[in-house]
């Protein structure tokens, strides 16, 4: 910090005087005619300049070559005046309207975009408003360089996977810090049911003014220990000067499922499974065979389970806002209601929310204001989608049931009852089999509930004191209360609630309360002396979060009449969803920004954080960032070389800093503790957590080097940044030998990795005609992740999908989360056997129908081989996209407006695990791919000879390379065609503005990926198990029509 100050001083004294040949005098005033002191008066493109005196006057000797004078002052719009022959030049500066000029939020304040030397991307609220989404970040994909968004599946309100410049942690969260109007808010899935409940859905996207994304250390270091994943600053709307303006925004839309895999129909299924039984040598027409069941009218049953699981969802949204401002008061009030249906039946999202923002100036010195936002969200579902984190192999998972259950049985019995057998599974119909399906989704979707309700209150109040025009004292107290109710009901007639020989049924309800307060006190000093502009911020902050959760679960109703937790039950109730904890963050921070003649820029940030979650020996840490910028267009040579004709801006910038990550770290994990239990009704106390008193932050050291170019008065802008993020002290739960008997693997700061890449953003006002305009924005990012070390004794980390399958591996020398699969070499044309390649590189032929288990695996020469399995897996392909970005174009012709956003990701691979299930040769229904099956010697095909019971050849047993596909895609993410009703007509109708639009989401995708959508995650936001598509429900396709009215 001290060094930084010395450096700054050096800068100040470097200012040099130029020779003068002509003297200009004048006076600078504000809009009301009051003189302004300390206004910088500069000869453009030179270092010649002065500052106004207390009475606003100045006198400046300028060289004969001087052409233009530039008057600039903090918070005022700079003015340029051509000198010509004048010797007296007065200037009247206008207060800068921050809502109009481009400013970015930089943490505890704002900064003009032109002055920013860190790497900050800004997305305007319009990009996320009026979309068929539940939370704003779902619409961020492709909008900003370095920001990768993956919508994991089609379950409503599922938090997207957000990666800012790659994944920055192995065990902690890589989710960025989200700061809403200055208060860090809760993120992630708050739901405790099978419905997803993204906490960020409480922010109505239509209330968002802007989203500023701080990516490098210089711009994020002010958030110290939480900045490693980047910081998203959400700014909600404020009123604009003028009388009250009322707006209405509404849309209605339809969403449909897309690209479902084609599965066998009833007859194909029956034939295929019988063939497989014959091949297995176990076909028996009387006891072990498949038969298509018949309807009562004798027609064959042919059930398309997709029809019972999916639907066309209807959604609508309505928002009303009132906003305005006077000199003293600024207000924005809004209310929104949206009701959305997902592509899965009974998967709904409803939100009602209100927001009020008020700022009031009491006098010249004092102002106060605040915000209050309340949102109630219903996240509704009937059953598990099988798509949320940890659900991939749920017996109830609807994504899988829709393609797994036998098509030759009906969901209903002839008497109308649900077709369920004595174990609660789908009834077998006419099949001579023990089992032909998992749960009956028709019953689950009719009778069950798995709901979650969020009540989310976010608010803050501030008082601001400006004793002088360059000093601001501000105290802000913010609260964020997220209260969640979960309610789950599983009927006894469904697989979920089935209990043999009883009425079954189970209910569980739980309540969780997350409360946070943040108190921030800051002192800001903004001062300009002629050529120098300095802004200094110091502050302290404390943030306390606590959570409480409790609930109850009950099973086995005493009468099928009961359908909720409060009903009659036979079994004693059990506690559910218990949890209690708190954490605390105590911080002090400072930042300084300096620029010299808007030419040289310097900034430094520092923060000291103390976090309760860390080990007793390491609670406090220091974080910092610094940046430098150089605006070349302000240099004399620039004009001399005539470069100013072409370039309106040419800024070089560099930053470096150190930030931390503790996101997702448990509250008490560093302590060694004992916890309670029961034994035969008596209390117990057992050693259950071995802590680490030295545990501390993961540390990111980030370097950025960038270039911002503006061409033709910024008609075309280019932003290029190269970055490298070295991460040390990655927290890894280091396992001890199991025989040491420790209760847990101990979190230790041991691993390291880096993310390195570049980002390019191009913006262009391609055509700026009177009637026709075309604006275009393109961004592309390249990121390379490399793990450089893990822990002693941890040579690799294998990550599972829902605990059952382990297709992901992380190890030094590779990107994190590589796919880890067993190699195959096709299907043997002579015998139809699957050929595996074992760890030794030898081909092993597999035949489940071999006479004994030992003979199933053989080498090509017929000798017996050891069985092949996950132990033969190889490090296969990367799952992190190396390239991603977006291309956004807006065309306006008179009142018409066409916007299209294309997003893309490239150079990554996805494990399509669903394929293993779709080709599983147990009773499971199959993809029509199996019709290509091997049938006779000489057949060259990728589908092995079907042998009933074979769950190995196609990858159910352990992941195979044949189910790994390139995920590269180009998506037509959104297309909107809008019509703005001409002003004359609008005025006639006494409206301010009227706009109609029709919009499509996910209309087209170009990819070689065979699954529904390569933009997928079966493991939610998991760091090291991305790129897995296991039984996931795909993203829907939406069409909406909407209306915006300004009154």
């Amino acid at each position: 910090m001290r060094k930084l100050f010395l450096l700054l001083c050096g800068f100040v004294f470097l200012a040099v005087q130029a020779q003068a040949q002509k003297t200009i005098t004048g006076k600078v005033t504000d809009e009301k005619g009051n003189p302004i002191a300390n206004v910088s008066v500069m000869v453009k493109g030179t270092t010649t300049g002065t500052a106004t005196k207390a009475d606003g006057t100045y006198s400046l000797a300028v060289p004969a070559s001087a052409r233009t004078l530039v008057f600039s002052y903090a918070d005022m719009t700079p003015e340029e005046v051509t000198i010509g022959s004048q010797v007296m030049i007065n200037s009247s500066l206008k207060a800068e309207d921050k809502s109009l000029s481009e400013v970015v939020v930089v943490g505890y304040g704002t900064q003009r975009k032109k002055d920013v030397t860190g790497t900050v991307a800004t997305v305007k609220g319009a990009a996320v408003s009026n979309k068929p989404i539940q939370s704003f970040e779902q619409a961020l994909g492709g909008r900003a360089a370095g920001v990768q968004i993956t919508i994991p599946n089609g379950v409503l309100n599922n938090p997207p996977v957000i990666r800012i410049r790659g994944t920055n942690s192995l065990s902690l969260s890589s989710y960025p810090l989200i700061v809403v109007d200055g208060v860090p808010t809760f993120t992630g899935d708050a739901s405790g049911s099978n419905a997803a409940g993204n906490a960020l859905a409480s922010i109505n996207p239509n209330d968002i003014e802007s989203i500023d994304i701080a990516k490098d250390a210089a711009s994020s270091a002010i958030y110290g220990s939480r900045a490693a994943n980047g910081v998203l600053f959400i700014t909600t709307k404020k009123g604009k000067l003028g009388k009250a303006r009322v707006t209405y925004d509404g849309w209605a839309g339809w969403t449909t499922v897309q690209r479902l895999p084609e599965v066998l129909n009833a007859q194909q299924y029956t034939d295929h499974k019988n063939l497989a039984l014959v091949n297995a040598g176990t076909y028996n027409a009387a006891s072990n065979a498949f038969y298509t069941s018949l309807n009562t009218d004798g027609s064959p049953i042919d059930t398309r389970w997709y029809d019972y699981v999916y639907r066309t969802g209807f959604s609508h949204s309505n928002n009303v806002s009132v906003a305005g401002a006077t000199d003293a008061t600024n207000y924005y009030f809004s209310m929104g209601y949206t009701s959305q249906q997902g592509i899965i039946k009974r998967n709904d999202f409803r939100r009602i929310n209100v927001l009020g923002n008020v700022d009031q100036k009491i006098n010249k010195y004092l102002s106060f204001g605040g915000k209050i936002s309340f949102s109630n969200e219903l996240n509704l579902a009937a059953a598990s989608s099988g798509s949320l984190n940890g659900e991939a192999f749920n017996t109830a998972g609807l994504g899988r049931l829709a393609f797994l259950n036998a098509p030759n049985v009906s969901p209903y019995l002839p008497n109308g009852a649900y077709n369920i057998n004595s174990s609660g599974l789908l009834g077998i119909g006419a099949n001579k089999q023990g089992q032909v399906g998992l749960y009956n989704p028709a019953a689950s979707l009719d009778l069950n509930r798995s709901n979650s309700e969020n009540n989310h209150l976010q608010g803050n109040v501030y008082i601001q004191l400006k004793p002088t025009n360059w000093m601001t004292l501000r105290t802000v107290y913010g609260i964020d209360y997220l209260l969640t109710d979960n309610e789950i009901w599983s009927d006894g007639r469904t697989g979920e609630g089935f209990i043999a020989n009883t009425f079954g049924g189970s209910a569980a309800s739980s309540y969780s309360k997350n409360k946070r307060f943040v108190w921030t006190n800051t002192l800001t000093l903004d001062k300009s002396w002629g050529k120098h502009t300095v802004s200094v911020l110091v502050g302290n902050e404390q943030q306390r979060s606590d959570n409480v959760g409790f609930g109850l679960s009950r099973t086995q109703v005493s009468d099928p009449f009961y359908t909720n937790l409060q009903g009659g039950f036979v079994q004693a109730p059990l506690a559910a969803g218990l949890g209690i904890g708190e954490n605390y963050l105590l911080s002090g921070f400072a930042s300084m920004k300096y620029n010299y003649k808007n030419k040289y820029f310097l900034s430094g940030n520092y923060r000291r954080d103390g976090a309760s979650q860390l080990g007793a020996n390491n609670k406090y840490g220091n974080f910092y960032g610094a940046s430098l910028g150089w605006e070349l267009t302000r240099e004399g040579f620039w004009e001399k070389w005539k470069l100013d004709k072409a370039f309106s801006s040419f800024k070089l910038r560099a930053s470096y800093g150190k930030v931390g990550n503790i996101s997702g770290l448990g509250n008490y994990g560093t302590l060694s503790t004992y916890s309670a239990g029961l034994y035969g009704g008596f209390a117990t106390l057992a050693f259950t957590n071995a802590g680490n008193p030295s545990l501390t932050w993961e540390t990111s050291k980030k370097t950025d080097i960038g270039l911002n170019i503006g061409v033709l008065k910024d008609r075309f802008t280019v932003e290029f940044t190269w970055y490298k993020n070295n991460i040390d002290g990655l927290i890894i739960a280091v396992p001890q030998p199991p025989s040491a008997g420790l209760p847990n693997s101990i979190n230790t700061n041991v691993g390291s990795m880096y993310n390195q890449g570049y980002e390019l953003t191009l913006n262009a006002n391609v055509v700026q005609g009177k009637n026709f305009t075309w604006t275009s924005s393109f961004n592309v990012s390249h990121n390379e992740n490399r793990v450089t070390s893990l822990a002693p004794g941890v040579t690799r980390i294998i990550a599972s999908t829902s605990g059952l399958e382990s297709p992901s591996i992380t190890l030094p020398g590779y990107a994190l989360g590589m796919l880890f699969v067993t190699r195959t070499a096709g299907v043997d044309p002579a015998t139809g056997r699957r050929i595996f390649i074992n760890a030794a590189g030898r081909q092993v032929f597999f035949d489940l129908s071999a006479p004994t288990a030992a003979q199933r695996y053989k080498y090509a020469d017929g000798s017996i081989a050891p069985s092949v399995g996950s132990q033969d897996a190889v490090i296969y392909k990367n799952t992190d996209p190396h390239i991603y970005g977006g291309f956004d174009n807006t065309f306006r012709y008179k009142g018409f407006e066409l916007n299209a956003l294309i997003t893309f990701q490239a150079d990554f691979w996805v494990y399509y695990g669903s394929y293993a299930g779709l080709r599983d040769q147990r009773y499971w229904n199959n993809s029509t791919d199996v019709l290509r099956r091997w049938t006779k010697p000489g057949d060259v095909t990728d589908m092995p000879r079907p042998v009933f019971g074979d769950n190995i050849s196609n990858g159910s047993s352990f992941p195979l390379d044949v189910n790994v596909f390139k995920g590269d895609f180009v998506k037509l993410r959104t297309v909107t065609l809008a019509y703005n009703v001409p002003k004359a007509l609008v005025d006639k109708a006494r409206f301010n503005s009227i706009r109609f639009y029709i919009s499509g989401n996910n209309l087209a995708i170009k990819t070689k990926y065979p699954g529904p959508d390569p933009e997928v995650s079966s493991n939610g936001n998991g760091a090291i198990n991305q790129g897995v598509d296991r039984n996931t429900v795909a993203n829907g396709r939406q069409i909406t029509v909407g209306l915006n009215i300004g009154f």
Binding site: N288, G434, I499, L678
Partner: protein, 485 residues
């Protein structure tokens, strides 16, 4: 006005910045610090119970240990080909990475370490906190639990004692409490060294644990002198030290029928065996069991009833029609046949564990009938004759369930016949109680072949590598000194 506000603001900022520093080191309200875990007699007692409750974990004695030792042998047929519920255990294709192999190993050693941490904590402070009598009791219980854990691990992960008289690789022998990261590399001790430690622990326990408890649940679910002795009979039988079996068994079995323990808990056979497998599960026949109730359940896919019962569970395993149920000597009159039931054309061990969801059947660890049959077998093997007391002991077990069969000395031509009858009786009596595999292995007998719809599993001779389990892969990776089987 202006200055006052300024001062107020600055002052409040400073106050706030410092006043909540204690919050930086919050203590959890739901977990007790290691610093105070031995601070009161109640906490110490609660820790003792936690040793048992963690042994009762579904991965271990709460279900899977018992289940594995049955399903790896010939009496059960896998019905659902589910890898999660022991398919590879059943068909003998386990590898080091298999979850069954790693999870049971980890859980058993977790309990062993809990015992070690407890014993250490007791010697540091706990013994003083609870006083010498209770301290002796508790230390004895901890060593009993540790002994049972080591014994159980040996049955799956090491060659049987008979193979080289315990000279083959046993287990890493952990006797100190581990509570944080450290260097835990340790080679396997021999089988014999482990048994020596087991017996040292049990001998200590025998003289230190109480004779009985004041309540029935504790009497059945915690170690007392007679249950320690009962376990010793099993350990010595496994080691083929038959004279020691007799010495131990005689402490708790009187010479003639009706057999019962004369001192301590009055163990004896129940007239009706089905009462042993019913609530309250605390008859004097249950020497040591793992308790369950609606609040304490074995966890999903760990419950004995879930595996074996079709009517009250998931019917994961049916009874092998070619197994002991086919034996003509096990007559239809035998009460123990009533545990079996045919559902969907297949015979299941349907009601031995018939509590159904939420599966509150207690898991039997040692029953008095086992002590009687242990003694009977040891007597025949030491006397090498049709021993009268052995016949009487066998008859006590058989006759109480099947009144139509009464064994006398005349029922057996040779000592071998009598031994075979005792071994057969064990198959009937302890069906689904996890004794089958240890019984085969201690005598070096082949695990017979079995056939299911899904395929045939060939016989596994003692020479086969899969006669015992492989060592946990995580152990091999993280403890390079440990060798595989």
């Amino acid at each position: 006005m202006k200055n006052k506000l300024l001062y107020l603001l600055v002052a409040s900022g400073l106050v706030l910045g410092s006043c909540q520093k204690s919050r930086i080191s919050p203590s959890p309200t739901t977990a007790i610090s290691d610093l105070s875990a031995f601070s009161t007699p109640d906490r110490v007692l609660n820790q003792v119970r936690s040793l048992y409750s963690n042994m009762r974990n579904g991965q271990f004695y709460g279900g899977r240990y018992v289940i594995y030792n049955d399903i790896r042998c010939e009496e059960f047929i896998n019905e659902l080909t589910n890898g999660v519920t022991g398919l590879e255990v059943w068909n003998g294709t386990l590898n080091n990475n298999n979850n069954q192999v790693t999870a049971l190993w980890a859980q058993a050693y977790y309990v062993i370490n809990l015992c070690n941490v407890f014993l250490q904590g007791m010697s540091n402070t706990g013994n003083t906190v609870v006083g010498s009598t209770l301290a002796a009791n508790y230390n004895g219980e901890a060593r009993f639990v540790r002994a049972l854990c080591y014994y159980s691990l040996l049955q799956l992960y090491a060659r049987p004692y008979y193979d080289g008289s315990g000279s083959r690789p046993g287990l890493p022998l952990r006797l100190t409490g581990n509570s944080g990261a450290g260097d835990y590399n340790l080679a396997r001790s021999t089988v014999n060294e482990i048994y020596t430690q087991i017996l040292a622990d049990l001998n200590f326990a025998e003289t230190n644990v109480p004779l009985t408890y004041t309540d029935a649940i504790s009497t059945t679910s915690r170690a007392h002198r007679n249950s320690v002795i009962a376990l010793k009979t099993r350990v010595y039988l496994t080691m083929q030290q038959y004279a020691n079996v007799i010495t131990e068994a005689n402490k708790i079995v009187n010479a003639t029928a009706p057999f019962a323990a004369a001192t301590g808990v009055a163990h004896t056979l129940q007239a009706d065996i089905t009462n042993v497998f019913k609530a309250p599960y605390t008859t004097t026949e249950s020497v040591f069991s793992m308790p369950f109730n609606a609040n304490e359940t074995p966890g999903t896919q760990n419950q004995l009833g879930y595996y074996f019962s079709k009517s009250f569970g998931n019917g994961e395993y049916s009874l092998n029609p070619a197994g002991i149920v086919a034996d003509a000597g096990w007559t239809v009159n035998d009460k123990r046949r009533t545990f079996n039931g045919t559902v969907g054309g297949k015979l299941y061990l349907n009601t031995k564990y018939g509590a159904g969801s939420p599966y509150t059947d207690w898991v039997p660890v040692i029953r008095y009938s086992e002590v009687l049959l242990n003694l009977a077998e040891a007597r025949v093997r030491t006397t090498n004759a049709v021993d009268a007391q052995a016949v009487a002991l066998l008859n006590a077990v058989r006759n109480r369930s099947d009144a139509t069969v009464t064994y006398t000395v005349g029922s057996f031509a040779t000592a071998t016949d009598l031994i075979n009858a005792i071994l057969k009786e064990r198959r009937i009596e302890f069906l689904g109680e996890g004794l089958r595999s240890p019984d085969l292995l201690r005598l070096g007998m082949t695990i017979p072949a079995k056939t299911a719809t899904s395929g045939t599993v060939v016989a596994i001779p003692p020479s086969a590598p899969n006669y015992i389990w492989p060592i946990s892969a995580s152990e091999l990776i993280l403890n390079p000194l440990c060798t595989d089987n």
